[in-house]
């Protein structure tokens, strides 16, 4: 019988992590646990401490306080053992441009005791046709897939990905998601950071929302979205830069949270859209404000972040 996920020891356990750079505290007592075989996402705005946390977990930085246990071991005592068993893609690595895809992977494979065959890894990331092309000639998406191939070639138990799809076009992003899902189906554990909600919702079994170096919420995407208790989000933009005081909006029936958006719009998280919308239209008509745009959508992780911090994820 296969034990339930809860019974397995965690692949990664982080407790009370603190990291300071001078006066800046990048990570302020962060704790989390990642189960073996799951995809765990750290979701948060830029500067929230996601990358620092990941680098400490990857053994690239040391924490000022707190503990990291990866596959049951600590970096301090078992660095060589751990490096053989993890794969990672950093946010900004540029691989050597003069080498080919094959040569790059063969180099990375040479570092591991029991690497995968390079010729097996290339098809995994869909770079068969680029096998002998120089890295400098690859597109952004292809380079990123090669970076992931470098992470996979050591046959890792845990894969760390720092913003794997930032700056990629939609097609490349979907290709990368397929790749990560295939790794997970084969039993791998994934820890990734992202500031894209759609990415987190699609890939992650569980998510920790990180802000100012702390986990402010944790759970499955569905549970997190459900936790804000809103059934709908109404998003509107007023014509001619008109404004309505948020106290008036909060008083509308069914409204739970009011927040500004990046493009000068306003979002209302509400429980009963059929009551809130007529009341909102009435309020605007009474104040002589005209709508430039009005739409509603089901709540997303973005709305969870807004309801927790009062700020939008990407402007925070």
């Amino acid at each position: 019988m296969i034990p339930a996920a809860d019974v397995l020891p965690p692949a990664l356990e982080v407790t009370g992590l603190v990291k300071r750079y001078g006066d800046v505290t990048a990570v302020a007592g962060l704790s989390l646990a990642v189960r073996a075989g799951e995809c765990f996402g750290l979701l948060g705005p830029n500067g929230a401490g996601k990358t620092t946390t990941l680098e400490i977990c990857e053994g690239l930085a040391t924490a000022d306080e707190g503990e990291v246990r990866l596959l049951g071991r600590a970096w301090r005592t078992d660095a060589g053992w751990l490096r053989q068993r993890i794969g990672l893609a950093l946010q900004e690595t540029q691989l050597a441009e003069k080498l080919t895809v094959y040569e790059t992977l063969r180099l990375f494979a040479s570092f591991y005791h029991a690497p995968r065959m390079v010729n097996d890894v290339i098809p995994l990331v869909g770079l068969e046709e680029k096998r002998d092309a120089r890295v400098g000639t690859l597109s952004g998406g292809q380079k990123q897939r090669l970076a992931i191939a470098c992470a996979l070639v050591g046959d890792p138990k845990v894969l760390f990905l720092d913003e794997p799809t930032t700056g990629l076009d939609p097609q490349s992003r979907r290709q990368l998601w397929d790749l990560i899902e295939a790794y997970k189906r084969a039993g791998g554990t994934v820890v990734l950071t992202t500031h894209y909600m759609d990415e987190a919702e699609r890939l992650c079994d569980r998510i920790a929302i990180v802000d100012h170096g702390r986990v402010i919420a944790e759970g499955t995407p569905r549970a997190l979205v459900g936790s804000i208790g809103a059934e709908h989000v109404i998003r509107f933009v007023l014509a001619d830069g008109a404004e309505v005081p948020s106290a008036l909006l909060e008083a509308l029936p069914g409204v739970r949270v009011v927040a500004g958006t990046r493009d000068d719009g306003t979002e209302l998280q509400c429980t009963a859209v059929h009551e809130t919308v007529p009341a909102l239209l009435g309020l605007l008509a009474q104040r002589g404000a005209r709508l430039a745009d009005l739409r509603t959508h089901a709540p997303t992780l973005e709305d969870v972040f807004v309801s927790l911090t009062g700020r939008a994820l990407r402007e925070a």
Binding site: G80, R83, T93, Q94, S110, G154
Partner: protein, 349 residues
């Protein structure tokens, strides 16, 4: 688990270094073509230099015509007859080495700068010619024999210097740029996250240099031997050992230069700081013995001095291991110290 040889990381790292270098046409030019152009230029410039002619001035007066004839017969002198002020002006600006004049009483007057070697030489040549013409006998008979031997020409002196200089520049530039670029592109950080051995990474730079070393040495020494008949008198084994150790020591220096710099500009500054004193002091272009005695202990400890002296000893005098041991010891010490320090100081992010 034993891996096949080509799958070893040190082999892969070294191959990657070599491929990256070969695929960079500019690096190939500076390592191979540029030294040859330099050697050819200097070789031609110093190849068949006639005995140096000293230019002196005579002040135009009643006596100057007869003096001019005497001096020109003496040889080795070019004589300008000028008026007083022009002659002095030319002396002051270094265009003539000496101004000579004979006053009405028959006394010879020389004006020259005793701190200039050509001034002193001109004074003796001029005085000698004029005194002999006036009837001075030479009490002791003299026989002169001039020597122009292969091995003592400037090009013979220069080819080992050029080889040493090239070992230094390719070691330092080649490695420093490659390492700093990799650090800049966060590639070092990515590699540091793998189980790669860090010592192997640094060692791969030393090993890859050896692949090009043979080519560099054959090109430079072969060119000297074929084009200028520069002698190769020592044993090939000792020569190979000297170049090998020299190349490794300069690679170690290159790694040390690159161990912390995060920008190419920073690394260039540091590389120049390391190389410039050696270009000047280590006797590449002219003998390091020209510097004051107080500096000699310091100069002889420089890795380029040790390499160039050992190469000259081997190629020109045919010195063996025993005579070259002090130089080899200095080079080896540089290799051990620089590599050890680089490994300790190296910044991976």
């Amino acid at each position: 688990m034993a891996k096949p040889f080509p799958a070893l990381s040190i082999v892969q790292l070294t191959l990657v270094r070599i491929k990256e270098f070969v695929r960079e046409p500019e690096a190939m030019f500076w390592s191979f073509v540029f030294p040859l152009l330099l050697a050819a230029g200097l070789g031609i410039a110093f190849r068949s230099r006639p005995p140096e002619q000293l230019r002196v001035a005579l002040v135009r007066d009643a006596a100057s015509d007869s003096l001019e004839r005497v001096l020109e017969r003496g040889g080795g002198l070019v004589v300008d007859v000028l008026d007083d002020s022009t002659a002095l002006m030319r002396l002051r600006t270094g265009q003539v080495a000496l101004v000579a004049d004979r006053d009405a009483g028959g006394t010879l007057r020389y004006e020259f700068d005793p701190e200039r070697p050509d001034g002193r030489a001109a004074r003796f040549l001029v005085n000698d010619a004029l005194q002999r013409a006036a009837g001075r006998p030479d009490p002791v008979p003299v026989v002169e024999r001039t020597v122009r031997e292969r091995g003592s020409r400037y090009i013979d002196f220069f080819i080992p210097g050029l080889l040493g200089m090239n070992l230094m520049s390719s070691g330092i530039w080649g490695i420093a740029f490659s390492v700093v670029t990799a650090r800049n592109r966060k590639l070092l950080k990515r590699l540091a996250a793998t189980p790669m051995s860090r010592a192997e990474y640094l060692a791969s730079y030393l090993l890859s240099r050896l692949g090009f070393l043979a080519a560099e040495v054959v090109v430079i020494v072969g060119f000297g031997a074929l084009a200028f008949n520069v002698p190769v008198r020592g044993s090939v084994g000792v020569f190979a050992l000297v170049t090998l150790l020299g190349a490794l020591a300069f690679s170690g220096l290159g790694l040390l230069v690159a161990s912390r710099a995060t920008t190419v500009e920073g690394a260039s500054g540091l590389a120049n700081l390391v190389m410039l004193p050696q270009w000047i002091f280590s006797g590449v272009f002219f003998s390091s013995k020209n510097f004051p005695d107080a500096l000699q202990p310091f100069i002889s400890l420089l890795p380029l001095t040790a390499t160039v002296d050992a190469l000259r000893g081997n190629l020109l005098q045919g010195s063996g291991l025993v005579e070259l041991a002090p130089h080899l010891g200095i080079i080896l010490a540089w290799l051990v110290v620089t590599f050890g320090l680089a490994l300790r100081l190296f910044r991976w992010r």
